[in-house]
């Protein structure tokens, strides 16, 4: 009953909602860029996963592609539940809750972020024009999100935010896939999801080892293998 009422409304406002969710994704990427507390970083990452789940489910409903529903469910299970849980356990055991300094101060980071966003939008424009999907405008946002996660990885000195940046990058790529081509073939999606999970686990193992050897997870201590040896 409720669905019947909502259906035409959703169909009319669907594309706008997707744009809104895409804007939310971009905002979350910026928020992650400027966030200092690692705990809130993980929560932002989980929120990003949730926004991704909503947008995939919406696209699936609007264009009636059943495999996208499966994809959305996979996103929910992996990025909203499994990965944040693993990350929470990790930081609790590693006892890192704060990232005190970033390599660049926050206003400068934001300015560089804006430049990257403009770059990404420009790059995506010719591709967007060629796309035939309902979500083509969001390709620029997806690319911007990838570049912002990359920036986050570069400007952080602790290992855990770097890991989260890595995972956020994959979020952006997934969003690009949903936006440009209604999702990749299922076997690829599963493979990518598996890779992400395995990657996160391996990174987790590494962080423990690093913590044991170095007594810190500050990656600036990991710079002894330089050229002038």
């Amino acid at each position: 009953m409720l669905a019947l009422h909502f259906a035409p409304l959703l169909a009319k406002y669907g594309p706008q909602l997707i744009n809104l969710l895409a804007a939310g994704l971009l905002l979350l990427s910026f928020a992650m860029l400027t966030q200092r507390r690692i705990l809130s970083l993980i929560n932002l990452f989980a929120m990003q996963g949730f926004v991704l789940f909503l947008s995939t489910a919406l696209v699936a409903w609007l264009t009636w592609q059943p495999h996208l529903f499966v994809s959305a469910a996979l996103t929910l299970a992996l990025k909203v539940i499994a990965l944040p849980w693993i990350l929470h356990r990790l930081i609790r055991r590693l006892n890192v809750k704060w990232d005190v300094e970033t390599l660049l101060n926050i206003p400068s980071t934001m300015l560089v972020g804006i430049v990257l966003v403009i770059l990404a939008f420009n790059l995506a424009l010719p591709i967007s024009n060629l796309a035939g999907t309902v979500t083509r405008a969001t390709l620029g946002i997806a690319l911007a999100s990838v570049l912002l996660s990359f920036l986050m990885m570069i400007t952080r000195s602790k290992a855990v935010p770097q890991v989260i940046g890595f995972l956020a990058m994959e979020n952006g790529l997934f969003f690009a896939a949903t936006g440009a081509v209604y999702g990749m073939p299922m076997v690829i999606e599963f493979g990518v999801a598996l890779d992400v999970l395995v990657g996160a686990l391996i990174l987790g193992i590494f962080l423990f080892e690093i913590r044991e050897r170095f007594d810190t997870v500050d990656t600036r201590h990991l710079e002894r293998l330089k050229e002038e040896r």
Partner: protein
């Protein structure tokens, strides 16, 4: 074309702004008190304060220049002019031909300039302190405000506030992500410019934490009354801009008197809700340290730029 009803609307708006501004401030204070579970001063308290101050004598420093004496009148006049530009009741205002959003920002900047100059005029330490901090906040808040106004202008293809209001009010309901971002940016900018928590505490007594209050320390008597009135009017103006950009429904288009009369209760309702929200934000945030203010405003600027970029990308 200046129509009679337009003139009437303009006059009504101006008088209403001057009269209602202290009421808005009183309402915000009352909401704050309610939220903090303490008993509030009466809602008309600001009026009583103004009346009391007008009756008192002015005490001036020896080295106060003519600028110091003229400044309060000048500042109130400029902000009143800004209030005349913002369409709160109707959009058919004669001032629209002369002033658009950019001029509005310019007027507010002029007010800020004179406040700062007058504060530095007497040469006290706290005056200069307040003036410097105010200029820092203004320096960062102004571009952010401009970005927000540009976003709205891009959507309605004009920088005139009246046109913006008309376009946005009469479009069918569209979800604009860019306006969502612009809304957040605008809220942050108004908090900064109106000396509200989290940027500045309007009820503080500690001079070293003041931004806006520090500039008022030297005023007394009717000068102080005018400055307080100007501050309330500034809050009113910012609320008016916010309502015009993000909630423009209910503003009378064209010059029918009935529309204007009907717009008044709508305006009061919207301002009341806005006051509650402002008090809520103030209660839920803590005042941040001065050196974090650039970060805060940087985020506002960022959101403003993002909203413009999003509009270009998603809504063309």
């Amino acid at each position: 074309m200046i129509s009679a009803s337009g003139l009437a609307a303009q006059f009504t708006e101006l008088v209403l702004a001057m009269l209602l501004a202290p009421l808005l401030t009183g309402w915000v204070n009352q909401c704050r008190a309610w939220l903090q579970s303490r008993s509030a001063p009466p809602i008309l308290q600001p009026y009583y304060v103004l009346a009391k101050l007008f009756r008192k004598d002015v005490v001036l420093a020896h080295n106060a220049s003519p600028l110091f004496r003229v400044a309060p009148y000048l500042i109130l006049g400029v902000i009143a002019l800004a209030a005349a530009v913002v369409p709160t009741l109707g959009t058919d205002l004669p001032m629209n031909a002369a002033a658009d959003a950019i001029a509005l920002v310019g007027l507010l900047a002029m007010a800020r300039l004179f406040i700062a100059l007058a504060a530095m005029d007497v040469g006290t330490a706290f005056g200069s302190l307040g003036a410097r901090r105010e200029m820092l906040v203004g320096f960062l808040a102004e571009p952010a405000l401009l970005m927000v106004l540009f976003t709205a202008s891009l959507i309605s293809n004009s920088t005139s506030l009246a046109t913006i209001v008309e376009t946005l009010a009469h479009k069918e309901l569209v979800i604009y992500p860019s306006m969502a971002f612009a809304g957040v940016a605008f809220t942050m900018v108004s908090l900064a410019e109106n000396a509200r928590i989290p940027v500045d505490n309007p009820a503080t007594h500690l001079e070293l934490t003041m931004i806006h209050e520090a500039m008022l320390l030297e005023y007394s008597g009717r000068h102080l009354a005018l400055m307080e009135w100007a501050a309330s009017l500034k809050l009113f103006v910012y609320s008016g801009i916010g309502l015009a950009l993000f909630f423009p429904w209910g503003v009378a288009g064209g010059g029918d008197a009935l529309g204007i009369v009907l717009a008044l209760p709508v305006l009061i309702l919207k301002l009341a809700i806005g006051g509650v929200l402002l008090a809520l934000i103030e209660m839920l945030s803590a005042k941040m340290r001065i050196f974090r203010a650039p970060e805060f405003l940087g985020i506002a600027f960022l959101l403003g730029v993002l909203s413009m970029l999003l509009h270009v990308l998603l809504e063309r």
